[in-house]
Symmetry: D3
Subunit: 253 residues, 6 copies
Amino acid sequence: MTRLLLLNPNTSVDVTERMLAVARKAAAPDTEIIPFTVAKGVPYIATRAEAVIGGAMVLEALAELSGTFDAAIIAAFGDPGLGGARELMDVPVVGLAEAGMLTACMLGHRFSIVSFATALGPWYRECVAAHGLLDRLASIRLLDGSFRSIGSVPEEKADLLVDLACKAVEEDGADVIVLAGAPLAGLAGTVKTRIPVPVIEGTAAAVRQAELLVGLGAGKARAGSYRRPAPKPSTGLPPALSQLLAGGDVATV
Amino acid sequence: MTRLLLLNPNTSVDVTERMLAVARKAAAPDTEIIPFTVAKGVPYIATRAEAVIGGAMVLEALAELSGTFDAAIIAAFGDPGLGGARELMDVPVVGLAEAGMLTACMLGHRFSIVSFATALGPWYRECVAAHGLLDRLASIRLLDGSFRSIGSVPEEKADLLVDLACKAVEEDGADVIVLAGAPLAGLAGTVKTRIPVPVIEGTAAAVRQAELLVGLGAGKARAGSYRRPAPKPSTGLPPALSQLLAGGDVATV
Amino acid sequence: MTRLLLLNPNTSVDVTERMLAVARKAAAPDTEIIPFTVAKGVPYIATRAEAVIGGAMVLEALAELSGTFDAAIIAAFGDPGLGGARELMDVPVVGLAEAGMLTACMLGHRFSIVSFATALGPWYRECVAAHGLLDRLASIRLLDGSFRSIGSVPEEKADLLVDLACKAVEEDGADVIVLAGAPLAGLAGTVKTRIPVPVIEGTAAAVRQAELLVGLGAGKARAGSYRRPAPKPSTGLPPALSQLLAGGDVATV
Amino acid sequence: MTRLLLLNPNTSVDVTERMLAVARKAAAPDTEIIPFTVAKGVPYIATRAEAVIGGAMVLEALAELSGTFDAAIIAAFGDPGLGGARELMDVPVVGLAEAGMLTACMLGHRFSIVSFATALGPWYRECVAAHGLLDRLASIRLLDGSFRSIGSVPEEKADLLVDLACKAVEEDGADVIVLAGAPLAGLAGTVKTRIPVPVIEGTAAAVRQAELLVGLGAGKARAGSYRRPAPKPSTGLPPALSQLLAGGDVATV
Amino acid sequence: MTRLLLLNPNTSVDVTERMLAVARKAAAPDTEIIPFTVAKGVPYIATRAEAVIGGAMVLEALAELSGTFDAAIIAAFGDPGLGGARELMDVPVVGLAEAGMLTACMLGHRFSIVSFATALGPWYRECVAAHGLLDRLASIRLLDGSFRSIGSVPEEKADLLVDLACKAVEEDGADVIVLAGAPLAGLAGTVKTRIPVPVIEGTAAAVRQAELLVGLGAGKARAGSYRRPAPKPSTGLPPALSQLLAGGDVATV
Amino acid sequence: MTRLLLLNPNTSVDVTERMLAVARKAAAPDTEIIPFTVAKGVPYIATRAEAVIGGAMVLEALAELSGTFDAAIIAAFGDPGLGGARELMDVPVVGLAEAGMLTACMLGHRFSIVSFATALGPWYRECVAAHGLLDRLASIRLLDGSFRSIGSVPEEKADLLVDLACKAVEEDGADVIVLAGAPLAGLAGTVKTRIPVPVIEGTAAAVRQAELLVGLGAGKARAGSYRRPAPKPSTGLPPALSQLLAGGDVATV
């Protein structure tokens, strides 16, 4: 059995629930999805500042839950804390953006990211750049209106998002659409027939990529930049995180 | 049940056999691997010219076998014919290089490609560039000696390849090693404990990524640059390929 | 006397005839143009899949005709098979796209590619990228309507193409226009006064660049990635190509 | 009078003290340096994971101290939390790496980053990339031995760092050396005569750049991606940070 | 006291006067601004050809005035002659474009350059590329109408330039506006409240960056590509420049 | 008859003579080579400062000689003043570096630049970058010793340059060697059999490319960034250059 931690760095439990349903449907029969919603932070990360906070929450949660999962999914599209998580954990960690974009790369040459709020644009763009995938990006297209509730965005915005995706195909040359943002989990299934190119959503892609990485058994780096950092004392951090930082192999710095 | 075509664009049946064993081990229980070795071409593609020939063989074979598989793997590391195959086929097609590199991207930031013959360097480098992944490439490291038989390279060269991989980690900053080249199928499993970072090989990665794409059911593009090309008459091509080219939707050019 | 092979990887003899007229006009007095139209393939390459097929035809034709020319022109704008041809041949080989773009680079900083069918866009763009010239590309502008016959596109579409070229200058910042696509051979001469920047067409540029390379006598690489590949056995290929692959210098892989 | 917050995201008070001395020396007479050392975190940030934690500490501290300074310096070389801080704050915020690198750009074309621990390499490289300055980077050169105490690195390692800097000039083509890492504050002054190109250190550069930004009075963005994020509720965060997140202008998402 | 040479490579004395007023306002109390207008050249550099001429005038003026200043500002936005000036001079030299752009980089991620004449576009774009800052450029926006007098452009065009800047923010994603072109000196102060992101102008930024470089005392390169070139004889050049070229250290070439 | 101006921006008449001999040999029978050596400047341009001076001399000479040639060659490898010259002249202008590099691009994928003095490195590298060809550059390899006379470098340094070129092939992956620097004119012919890849030299390549551009009759841009600049008054410039600047079409700025 494979245990996948579905770690939502947003505090919105309803978003976690929505992703959980999608994740269970995407997962193999012998995969257990372990949902977790951070207790501290914001309901929905949309800016660089909120991503900084969310990244720290990711590390705290991973440290707390360490040992209870075989792979972890950072379930927010900009992948807050991903690099740090990959260093610290002995098991695979994937981000929603990373999994969605890399999967899209196997279905066409250029993808567009479509989501529901303009505020997300700069953070998403920096995320694509950080993954070195700007050459594969056709465009980022975002709705600019407000919405009633983060928990019901897919129902409220489905038609507008479909229009946006179609424009990305026609005007920007997108070969694939990546529906981005944890709140949109599940939307791909209901709208994909209305969009004339393959549609990928982060949650399902991340679940399957995490299973794939577990299945390959590639192992933890013992050298290079993703090896466990050298043990380090710390002050004022949650005990589990402090212990994780303190417990690496003896090495310089 | 998922039927995966393992399409070797090289004429070496023993290399196909080697990959088949790895593929079966990597595949899910309900996946059937359908091996196919092209009848025309060279025993082992190593240069741009040979890749041009192999690419055409890939399209011929896909046309011939069309309808008998749910996804196809182009089982040579430089992914000959991949873009064309993705246009023509209604089912997912993945390349060994593509699958290996994109999987590696989820285990670290930069990967090194390690293989057994210097002749492969330029073709591999152009392949990485074509996938837009040069920013993620730490290095390409290749053995420069000759070898006895293409079918037994892994046994003959294991130690040298391990040394090369370790150098890529130490000197080039590789976070992940991608063992490249169809003849190396299976080697990752036997040497990975001797290499201090995750080791990916194309065959296993491609099998699992193909399963993943089938599982996501992302569908065939009906617009954009990977839609089926408009129907086109042709002359002198094998009947199946000619028919495939002729049978697209009616569209301009 | 210099013998230039004008190798059309499309099966359209009328397109070859059109290019031949332009080529003869562009050529030096002591240059003989040897036209050749492939017997197998499609009337006009417009997609990645068709380019894969055309690339293989290029190698077959070059092998067949080897020894009868001093330089060869791959007379289709996306340069199918160019890298492989350059490896295999002992004489210079240039592509229509390559010659057109590099010549344009000496007349301004950024060029736009203008052609007659939207289907060509992705293939052309990947061709520009493969040549490492994306920084010099202002835009690719393509007509989106259908056309009556591939042999009479220039007459039918001249006005629309001029409009497109002018938009590329005004809106995209093009310093030079490259009229792309073998069927447009000869159009530059008739429309250039109506376009306010220099206009280059592939056929004339390729003829002159091929003459230039012959004139410089730069010679065949005996090392590096364009040296003749090591001899390799093959199966099922046309005799001339098989012999060419078998006849390289003795080297590893 | 200009009040500059010198915010050390490391918990090492002795490093703060060292930077404070350099900062005071670099500052204009009417500048007051306000030192602050975070209470939670690690003594010296060296990895991606530690940078994630430090970034969150930066936002907490800025929120806590908001209103008491005219500009802030994030006093760790990789600039943890910089983008988020720039969004949230109404006054200029600069990072040590950013200030050091941009200043170096005015003294030559390519700079090398020189520091005292190999563990810093990946984080620093990602920092350079995030700032879009990889084209200006000649190399990153790092010492690989251990050190006795983070507070006395400059004294202990001066000679080795000078050697490293000289190698960067001779072998990597560095026009300028950026001495990186908060613990090296003050070293530039003592070693610069032994290095044959200009030597910049982050602390002094950041103090002066912060003064410069205050002096220019460029103001806070009211639009674009660095405007104050829309107000957002939060849970479990320190009161000052929670209040800061809650207090933005009314806007969507 | 710091002596800053404000070297206008344009022959327009009224533009120098305008910049002088801005420079004096931006400068520290103990900074003396030394204005200089070249006697030979064009009233306002707007093209590549004019920049070539202006660059030579910059070197002539710097040689002539050598020893009378502690830092120099090349007071034209495209920084004509900057690299050469930096090689020859023993004191810091900064360009208006360089100072404006690098300062903008500390106030946001992407900047737009806004100026008053379309003719400036290609030169400015090449300048951004030469500084390696294309990744940070959101757009270049230029007015396309004519103007009455180079000396009164700010008064005549203020409203149109504000509109252009606002469009750059809304449509191009600019985080910061750089008002470019010596004739616009002083405009930032009067329009910045009407533009919703920070506004930087080259003159003020250059004055403060020059002071900053003097303050840091980074020194002259004695190695690397900005060391004083080896002494070289010359013919027909102004005596001061000839002497400067002749007076380097004895070295090869 | 085609008249080619061979414009040496260096003051060394013996270098002009050497290039003239090569140019005449490379030229078509009906091409007349018009040699010109600038009267002002340095014997051999090797640094950014010297290139600034040389660029202005190029424009002065072109203005002076305007009307006497059908195309011009800027006969120094870094192409000083090229962009400006291309704007001002109604006939084609090519640079030695540009012609050499673009020609090399048709003989392989990556070229190395080989020359005789380390001082040339930064200028050459910036030249490659300005042409947007860094992706095609394998390396720049330069001799570091001194030489007796600029006029006899080829004889003195042939063996060392051959060694350097061979290293570029073996260690840097060069497919083609570009022998750079006007003083090396003619060397390619004598050493090419000792270098195992094609060898290009700027002078011969530039002569033939200039002939090619004249032959294509592409015409002068009447729009875009290489149209003649709008007429502009000037002060203190040589009469011919002043008149050229004053004589453009009436346009804004």
